[in-house]
């Protein structure tokens, strides 16, 4: 283990033998590797990042697996390694790979690629629970890296479908200066183009004044010269300024994108499709609401568990083949079975469109058709993706 690696927890759930196990005993060890990142400074302190973000989701997934496992003679173990910002995450990854080849990655895209390209990771099965980057599902894909977090493109496609459905055709956009904002804005514009929309006016938010004190003066002026629009889009993925735009705009218009109406992998307001049970299990365990990264980590653990249960095997190659095959289906509390796109390893999933108090809609919206599955109207489709690693 590298000098900066910090081992914070080991949750071992012992198996209870009940009746005759259906299959031989199997021990499944999963590693959760987190490269901690310095959060960029933001104006508001309203939303502290939970210490156990992602990890809490993996822990609930582990418990779900272990409950099934005790009826089957399958033992599950989760080890968490957290690497400080700037720490030697590759050393931590190598150390983890000596113990297991099933790893959930909570790290920026570049770090995930470096880990996936380690010689030690050649036969491993890595799950991206944190990076929404298009490139990881496109030309930069890796055959040993699956994605349970939806890409930003899936989220922005969901919003675009919603605007088409509502006939909110005139759209204006304000983009922040952080690279995450820029990348989200690019995905947003690509999604609007995909569904026949575009933005009619666009501005960059580059102020360094403290908007908490003067949003009511500044925002109307800033938004006054935008062209007529039905919705004001905000690309502010670090959640710096967007929250101060709502209700301060020159024209009274709904806000969507990073603030207001958002498309997300998961939100505590999702309660249909049995989701209330998952939410309450999570809240009991973590004492907070379930965030998108928690959901992605939970889904990674559950995908592993589902594959072990159905194949009766702990062999990574067998699990990978099953997970990417036609028979795989994950009950992800989103109203329909989830499975992986065999061409780039992305977990297909409906995308909730929410405001902070309720679910507004869930994409794919009715009427957006696809020859394979309507879920493939969201994100990179097979002909668009430049991913070739999975076809080898």
């Amino acid at each position: 283990m590298g000098g900066f690696a910090l081992k914070t927890g080991r949750a071992l759930l012992a198996a209870v033998t009940l009746a005759a196990p259906a299959a031989a005993e199997i021990a499944v060890s999963v590693h959760y590797l987190q490269l901690m990142v310095e959060a960029p400074p933001t104006l508001s302190n309203l939303d502290p990042v939970p210490e156990d973000l992602g990890i809490a989701g993996a822990t609930v997934g582990l418990k779900d697996n272990a409950t099934t496992g005790r009826f089957m003679g399958h033992n599950y173990e989760l080890t968490v390694t957290r690497v400080e910002p700037g720490g030697d995450f590759l050393a931590a990854a190598r150390a983890a790979l000596t113990e297991t080849s099933l790893i959930v990655l909570d790290a920026p895209a570049a770090a995930q690629l470096a880990i996936a390209d380690l010689p030690e990771a050649a036969g491993a099965l890595l799950f991206n629970a944190s990076a929404p980057d298009r490139a990881l599902r496109d030309a930069d894909c890796r055959a040993n890296l699956l994605h349970t977090l939806p890409s930003d493109a899936m989220r922005t496609d969901a919003l675009a479908q919603f605007f088409v459905k509502k006939r909110w055709d005139d759209l204006a956009l304000i983009t922040g200066t952080n690279p995450a904002d820029q990348s989200y804005a690019a995905d947003l514009k690509a999604s609007l183009a995909k569904f026949g929309l575009d933005v009619n006016s666009e501005k960059t938010w580059a102020f360094d004044a403290d908007m908490r004190r003067n949003a009511a003066q500044e925002v109307p002026l800033f938004t006054q010269d935008l062209r007529d629009h039905d919705v004001l889009l905000i690309a502010d993925e670090i959640h710096d300024f967007g929250r101060y735009v709502l209700y301060n705009t020159w024209d009274p218009r709904p806000v969507a994108g990073s603030e207001g109406l958002t498309a997300t992998a998961w939100s505590p307001v999702v309660e249909q499709w049995g989701a209330a049970q998952l939410q309450s299990r999570f809240e009991d365990a973590a004492d907070r609401g379930m965030a998108p990264k928690d959901y992605a980590a939970w889904a990674a653990l559950r995908a592993i568990g589902e594959a072990v249960t159905r194949t009766g095997s702990g062999d990574t190659a067998t699990l990978r083949a099953y997970i990417l095959g036609d028979a795989f289906e994950l009950a992800g509390f989103k109203g329909r079975p989830l499975n992986f796109r065999p061409w780039n390893g992305q977990l297909r999933q409906p995308i909730p469109i929410v405001h902070p108090r309720a679910l507004v809609a869930q994409a794919p919206l009715e009427g957006f058709l696809h020859q394979r599955t309507e879920l493939d109207t969201l994100g990179l489709d097979e002909p668009e993706s430049h991913c070739t690693a999975f076809s080898k």
Binding site: A19, A22, T67, T68, F71, G274, A331, R336, P337, T373
Partner: protein, 328 residues
């Protein structure tokens, strides 16, 4: 009055169905419906097909079942964490039974005394003696237990668990698990049939019903569904019931807004019948000539004529109807 019309059903044929369908209900025959998001029961008079009473219950009523002599109604009041015992004549709650947390669904043992209760949030099946009002046993099962069944001879109880994807087989003598069998994703409901030799389990997300041979607990058949014009992902089998002759099973298909009529011998689907939105559970009248389905999203009950397999009426009930139980 709301009517759900099949694509090819004209008003004229529907009117014919209404006048020609001859049902002769026994006096005061009623279907009781639990309204999950309204904390009420709606009582439908089978003779007039109208709601004649609305009765308040504890929070989030889901599973409901009558005692064998129909003198009391048991109600899973999920969010009140109790099973309520109601006098159906007066609608008064006589007492509560200890149920474990979040009781969702239950089944009354043929001894008319023991309730087997699925505790959805706790991964437990609780067995309660309704006479002593005491918990007899708690059995660890998979995550989110829901479907409950008991064999006609009373020897086997079944719990299905939604996230663990299993049917758990309980020996009612020892109150211990003796088998755990995998089914497809999100099992929701279980029923014994064919004189107790078969167990059927529906899988909502898997989109199938698995048929087990009870003697060996081995999988015997798998039933799949296909509704024209609806993506297979949205065809989600949940509640189901068998006709009196056990020749046909009617299967609620959730958000596909259809029920299927399945031949219980060949396991083939013979018909799909359009009902209300997110159809969930159902029950028959006494002679099993009429079927009443609970449609959660549309907040109504569809009445289906069993012989013609046509929907004949839609009855508005409370918010999110869930369970249905006949009171003859």
């Amino acid at each position: 009055m709301l009517l759900h019309l099949g694509r090819n059903t004209s008003l004229a044929t529907l009117a014919t169905a209404l006048t020609l369908t001859a049902w002769a209900p026994a006096p005061a025959e009623e279907i009781w419906i639990s309204n999950e998001k309204e904390d009420t029961l709606s009582v439908i008079d089978v003779a007039t097909l109208e709601v004649i009473r609305t009765i308040e219950t504890g929070e989030r009523p889901r599973g409901i079942t009558f005692s064998k002599d129909y003198s009391v109604l048991y109600i899973c009041a999920s969010d009140s964490d109790t099973v309520q015992v109601m006098d159906p004549e007066t609608g008064r709650i006589l007492h509560d039974l200890p149920s474990g947390e979040d009781p969702e669904q239950f089944v009354l043992h043929p001894d008319d005394r023991h309730l087997y209760i699925a505790n959805e949030d706790d991964a437990i099946t609780t067995v309660v003696d309704t006479e002593t009002r005491k918990v007899v046993a708690q059995i660890d099962v998979g995550i989110e237990p829901e479907g409950m069944a008991v064999s006609p001879d009373g020897k086997i109880a079944i719990t299905t668990s939604e996230t663990t994807n299993m049917a758990h087989w309980i020996d009612t003598e020892t109150q211990m698990l003796f088998a755990n069998t995998l089914v497809d994703s999100r099992p929701r409901h279980a029923e014994f049939t064919a004189g107790g030799t078969e167990l059927w389990v529906s899988s909502e997300i898997g989109g199938t019903i698995t048929v087990f041979d009870v003697a060996t607990q081995a999988e015997k058949a798998k039933i799949e569904f296909e509704v024209q014009g609806i993506h297979p992902d949205r065809v989600q089998p949940v509640g189901f019931e068998f006709t009196g002759d056990e020749k046909t099973a009617f299967v609620a298909l959730g958000p596909s807004n259809h029920i299927a009529a399945v031949n219980a011998k060949t396991y083939e689907v013979e018909d799909y019948i359009l009902v209300g939105r997110r159809v969930w559970h159902m029950d028959f009248n006494t002679d099993k000539s009429l079927l009443f389905t609970t449609n959660g999203v549309s907040g109504d009950v569809t009445v289906v004529d069993v012989a013609s397999r046509e929907p004949v009426k839609t009855i508005k009930v409370g918010r999110f109807p869930w369970g249905a139980a006949l009171r003859p």
